[in-house]
């Protein structure tokens, strides 16, 4: 093996793990599957960030309609201390067959977490006392503000809440 070949081998070995990592850039490794205990810390972070937590599912038509607005929101406030978290209530056994293909099709950049916890009667009131269990539903909190919305949003409505909170 001449020095050039040796160098190329070394170099490709060096790049191998990086290329593997880069291959997975589009979503797959980003979907964490949690039960409610695993989700709860995301609903009560106390720092100077504003959190927008949307509860949705691929089978929920009004949820799908507002996904682009949450994407737009995440992009618009990328440089600010705003974090958009999309909590999917899809069935865990459809993660590969349904959720991930959907995320790729919609080019979702916001972080997605799959909440796999069938005992919703226990955890619904812990998200918000008044939540009936209907989706879409969205929790906005941070900087002393906390509000739970059981409604469909437009981008303008989301933008108004976040821009007011940031300028507050």
């Amino acid at each position: 093996m001449n020095p050039i070949h040796r160098f190329m081998l070394f170099f490709s070995l060096l790049l191998f793990p990086i290329s593997l990592f880069a291959e997975k850039g589009s979503g797959e490794e980003n979907v964490k599957v949690v039960d409610f205990a695993g989700l709860e810390p995301y609903l009560k972070k106390s720092n100077d960030t504003i959190y927008v937590v949307n509860f949705w599912a691929t089978w929920c038509a009004p949820c799908i309609k507002e996904i682009p607005y949450f994407e737009q929101l995440g992009a618009a406030y990328q440089k600010d201390k705003v974090k958009v978290l999309m909590v999917s209530l899809d069935m865990a056994n459809q993660l590969q067959s349904r959720l991930i293909p959907f995320m790729e099709k919609e080019k979702m950049r916001n972080e997605v977490i799959l909440l796999d916890d069938p005992r919703s009667n226990r955890w619904i009131p812990l998200v918000d006392e008044n939540w009936s269990g209907v989706i879409p539903a969205t929790l906005v909190y941070g900087k002393g503000f906390r509000e739970f919305y059981q409604k469909e949003f437009t981008f303008e409505e989301l933008d108004e809440i976040i821009s007011s909170l940031l300028s507050n």
Binding site: W59, C60, A61, P62, L89, M91, P118, R119, S120, N121, R122, I124, P125, N130, W131, S132, G133, V134, I135, P136, E147, Y149, Q150, K151, I161, S164, S167, N168
Partner: protein, 201 residues
């Protein structure tokens, strides 16, 4: 000042978005008279001879309905002979959700061999009277006699939509058992994730 204005604005706004809640347990059950898939009309008054009934807001395409469909049939098979039958009401506007057309309702009922009426709330007046927001959503009514029914339980069928074998609490069955024992259901209200009702625009 800006802070205050902002708070006031948000307060006003959140006040405008009033959240629908199920009718309170103990309330008089709202009457209904709706078209069944066989073309007949079914009314709450038709159940005057029963001890009570389960009114379940349901639909065709919702995955949570599909997960619970066999358990709805099971509830009827177990409790209809004891005086507590099940009636399904589809509250969705077929204009918004074509899978909930009257024809599709007939098809679904035939496929699953529904042993109970499957009614269409085509005017969308019954589900708001019950304060239903999603499918499936259960209302257990108790017959107080003289054509009066009261709401005894609202919520979900049990605590695990995914896996019937892993159910720990059969909320709806426990509620009707409590009524049969002359007691108040406890819990009298539960919550679950469901599909939002498709409202006519």
């Amino acid at each position: 000042m800006k802070n205050l204005l902002f708070t006031v604005a948000l307060f006003l706004w959140s006040g405008l978005v009033l959240q629908a809640q199920p009718i309170a347990v103990g309330s008089k059950a709202p009457a209904f008279s709706l078209k069944n898939i066989d073309g007949s009309t079914v009314s709450l008054a038709d159940y005057a001879g029963e001890k009570g009934l389960f009114v379940i807001f349901s639909c065709n395409p919702c995955p949570y309905v599909k997960a619970y469909e066999d358990r709805m049939i099971g509830l009827h098979q177990e409790y209809a002979p004891l005086g507590y039958p099940v009636v399904l009401i589809n509250p969705n506007d077929p204009g918004q959700q074509p899978d909930d057309s009257f024809e599709k309702m007939k098809q679904r009922a035939a496929e699953k061999n529904y042993p109970f009426p499957y009614l269409q709330d085509i005017e969308q007046t019954v589900y708001p009277a019950y304060g239903a927001t999603r499918t499936p959503e259960v209302f257990l009514l108790k017959n107080d006699g003289d054509g009066n029914f009261t709401v005894a339980y609202t919520g979900t069928i049990d605590d695990n939509y995914q896996d019937e074998a892993a159910v720990e609490e059969k909320f709806a069955a426990n509620a009707v058992q409590a009524l049969m024992a002359g007691k108040q259901p406890d819990p009298a209200t539960t919550r679950a994730i469901g599909c939002g009702i498709k409202v006519k625009k």
